[in-house]
C-alpha cells in the first residue's frame, strides 16, 4: 500500500501528513504538561507559609542539563540541515552528538534521582532533626550514619540555610522516631518534581529512541526515498525541540523559584 502525502504537500493543509500529525501530537502534549504545571501552581499557591520546599534541588546540575538540552537542539537542527543539503555523513555525525548529549542529560538526571532517594530527614525521639545523605557502607542495624546537618525545626528542613558545612552524624537506631527520604512520597513538591521530571525523562528516552531508529536501523530509506527520510528527521526534530522547550519551564519552576 502506498501511503499518501509522505513527501508532497496536501493542497488543503499545505503540509505533508507527518508534519501535521506531529504538530497535533505536540498540541496534546502542551495540554498534558499544562495540566501538570497547573497542578503545581495550584498546590504551591495553596501551601501554608514555610511548608513549600525551597533550594532542595542542585541548581548547578539543573543549569548544566539546560545547556546540554539547548546544545542538543542545535546539533539536531544542524543534522537536519546537513541532510537537507545532501550531506549524509555530516547528518550522522551531528545526530550522534544529539544522542550523546541526551544520554549525558539522562546520566545527570539519574545522579539527581539517586541523591534524592538517599537523602533522609531523621526525626529523633528527643525532638532533634538530622538531615543528609545516608552513608550505606557505615550504616548498620544499630546505627544510621549520614553526611549532613542538624536542623533546628521543620521550617529549616523546608528551606535549608546556605553555606553550612556538612558533617558526619551518627545516630543510634533506638533514638530514631521517624526517617523519610526525599522520594516522591515525601510531600507535594517531591511528588510533582518526580512526576514532571519523570514524564520529561520518558520523553527524552522516547525521543532518543526514535532519533536512533531513524539514524541507524531505518537509514536505508535515505537511498530509496531521500525526501521522505528528510521529513522523518524533521518531525523527530520538532519533537526534540519541544522536549527542550518543556525543560526551559521545568528548570526555573523547580530548581530556582
Amino acid at each position: 500500500m502506498n501511503i499518501p502525502y509522505t513527501v508532497e504537500r496536501r493542497e488543503d493543509t499545505g503540509l505533508y501528513n507527518a508534519k501535521l500529525g506531529v504538530w497535533l501530537f505536540l498540541a496534546s502534549e502542551v495540554m498534558l504538561f499544562g495540566a501538570l504545571f497547573s497542578s503545581y501552581i495550584l498546590l504551591r499557591v495553596g501551601a501554608d507559609a514555610g511548608t513549600w520546599p525551597r533550594h532542595w534541588l542542585d541548581y548547578k546540575l539543573g543549569a548544566i542539563n539546560t545547556i546540554i538540552l539547548i546544545i542538543s537542539s542545535v546539533t539536531n537542527v544542524i543534522a537536519w540541515a546537513n541532510l537537507k543539503m545532501g550531506y549524509f555523513g555530516k547528518y550522522r555525525f551531528y545526530q550522534a552528538l544529539t544522542m550523546v548529549l541526551a544520554i549525558a542529560f539522562l546520566a545527570i538526571k539519574s545522579t539527581e534521582y539517586y541523591g534524592k532517594f538517599h537523602h533522609y530527614t531523621i526525626a529523633l525521639k528527643d525532638g532533634r532533626i538530622a538531615d543528609g545523605h545516608i552513608q550505606k557502607d557505615e550504616t548498620t542495624a544499630d546505627k544510621v550514619v549520614i553526611e549532613g546537618w542538624w536542623r533546628t525545626n521543620e521550617a529549616e528542613v523546608m528551606d535549608p540555610p546556605a553555606n553550612v558545612e556538612e558533617k558526619k552524624i551518627e545516630i543510634e537506631s533506638k533514638e530514631i522516631a521517624d526517617m523519610q527520604n526525599y522520594g516522591p512520597a515525601r510531600n507535594n513538591f517531591a511528588g510533582l518534581y518526580f512526576t514532571m521530571t519523570g514524564l520529561h525523562v520518558l520523553h527524552i528516552i522516547g525521543g532518543v529512541l526514535v532519533i536512533f531508529a531513524i539514524w541507524g536501523p531505518l537509514n536505508g530509506m535515505w537511498k530509496t526515498d531521500p525526501e521522505r527520510y528528510v521529513n522523518r528527521v524533521e518531525v523527530a526534530g520538532l519533537f526534540w525541540s519541544f522536549v527542550d522547550l518543556v525543560w526551559l519551564f521545568i528548570f526555573p519552576t523547580f530548581y530556582l523559584l
Binding site: T13, G14, L15, L20, W23, L24, A27, V30, M31, G34, A35, S38, I41, L42, V45, G46, Y59, A63, T66, I67, I70, I71, S73, V74, V77, I78, A81, K84, M85, G237, L238, S241, F242, D244, L245, L248, F249, F251, P252, T253, L256, L257
Partner: protein
C-alpha cells in the same frame, strides 16, 4: 515562502547560522534566569514573574526558530491558537474553582 530547491538550500544554510546564534541567546537567557532567581526584586511574585517571563522568551525562541514556527503554514497557527484557548480555559477553570471554594470554619 519560495519552495525552489536552490532557494531552500540557501534558507537552510542561513538557518544553521541563525540556530547557533539562537542557542547562544538561550544559554545566556538561562544564565540570566539563574541571576534573577538569586536577586531580590522586592517580592516573591515579582521574582516569579521575571524568571518565568525569561523562560517564556526562551520558549518562544525555541518554537519560533528551532521548530520553524515563524515560517510555518497558517493551519499550524490555528492549531496552536486552539491549544492556547483550551490551556487558558483549563488553568482558568482550576483557579476559578479554587477562588470559589467556600470553606466555613466552625468553632
Amino acid at each position: 515562502m519560495n519552495d525552489s530547491p536552490e532557494q531552500e538550500l540557501k534558507d537552510v544554510k542561513k538557518r544553521v547560522q541563525q540556530h547557533i546564534m539562537i542557542a547562544v541567546g538561550l544559554a545566556v537567557g538561562s544564565l540570566i534566569t539563574l541571576w534573577t532567581s538569586q536577586t531580590n526584586f522586592g517580592s516573591f511574585t515579582r521574582n516569579v514573574s521575571i524568571t518565568l517571563g525569561i523562560a517564556g522568551i526562551q520558549a518562544f525562541m525555541v518554537a519560533a526558530f528551532f521548530m520553524h514556527l515563524l515560517s510555518e503554514k497558517k493551519l499550524i497557527y490555528w492549531f496552536l491558537v486552539l491549544t492556547a484557548v483550551f490551556f487558558v480555559v483549563m488553568i482558568g477553570v482550576t483557579f476559578w474553582a479554587r477562588m470559589d471554594s467556600n470553606v466555613v470554619h466552625y468553632h
